[in-house]
């Protein structure tokens, strides 16, 4: 595939960011899960999944995100999401995901929500 999924880590104040890029489909499994494992090993508590570099997302890709969400809930981590287009934001709402993981307009908005706890 030309537009493979990539997941890169970025430490920022208050948040560990996983920047997703390319196509988040079934092929993104390894990239996303290994990024999540690394983040966990570092002991990160607040993890922001940033979708702003994602150019395609389907139900198999969202299933991977649900897998990560399941893990973060077990590990008592806090997962946050940003960078979704209005369409995928709607899809996350339709699926009920928005009730389990907060979705923010921007990285800053996500950071503020942590800061103001």
């Amino acid at each position: 595939m030309a537009n493979e999924a990539r997941a890169t880590l970025r430490e920022t104040p208050l948040l560990t960011v996983i920047d997703l890029r390319g196509e988040v489909t079934t092929f993104a499994d390894d990239a996303i899960n290994s990024a999540y494992r690394q983040v966990s090993e570092r002991g990160a508590k607040n993890i922001l999944l940033n979708f702003s570099g994602v150019d395609h997302l389907n139900s198999a890709g969202i299933a991977i995100i649900i897998g990560v969400l399941t893990e973060t809930r077990k590990a008592d981590q806090c997962l946050l999401i940003t960078g979704l287009t209005p369409h995928y934001r709607k899809v996350f709402h339709i699926m009920g995901l928005a009730r389990y993981v907060p979705i923010f307009d921007s990285e800053d908005a996500a950071r503020q929500s942590i800061d103001s706890r």
Partner: protein
Amino acid sequence: MVSGKPTAKRRRNRTIELGIPSDLGWERAAMDVAASVARCMGFPADRIEDIKTAVAEATLNAIEHGNSLDASQRVLIVLVPEGEKLEINVRDRSSTPFPPAEAVGAPSLEDKLTGLSNTRGWGTFLIRSLVDEVEFTSTSEGNLVRMVIHLEP
């Protein structure tokens, strides 16, 4: 471009047909054609996104479940623009029929998050949520998903 009462022949002539191999990835071609037909018909941007996702999921299911990723089997996507609505048919060569509707009810996110069920299983649910009409038909030739999206909701 699209007007008047469709007769059977007119209808046939005005379809846009796309055939793809059953390899993961080609569903992108189906999304792109659906989007360009919808754009031509004047669908608003957010409806075009809905159509793209519904077509992607139906095509993905046809590739993956219907044709079991057997690249020698093809998936046929037929788009029928009819003035106020767009009909989209996705056909595979499955020898297994669709599961009964009850089996593919709304998936429970709670069950998935607690490990009670697989994290997958959203495709059919998303299709149902995003289009105005949907029909799943299994025949001896294969499975067919027929979706209809109206220009005016």
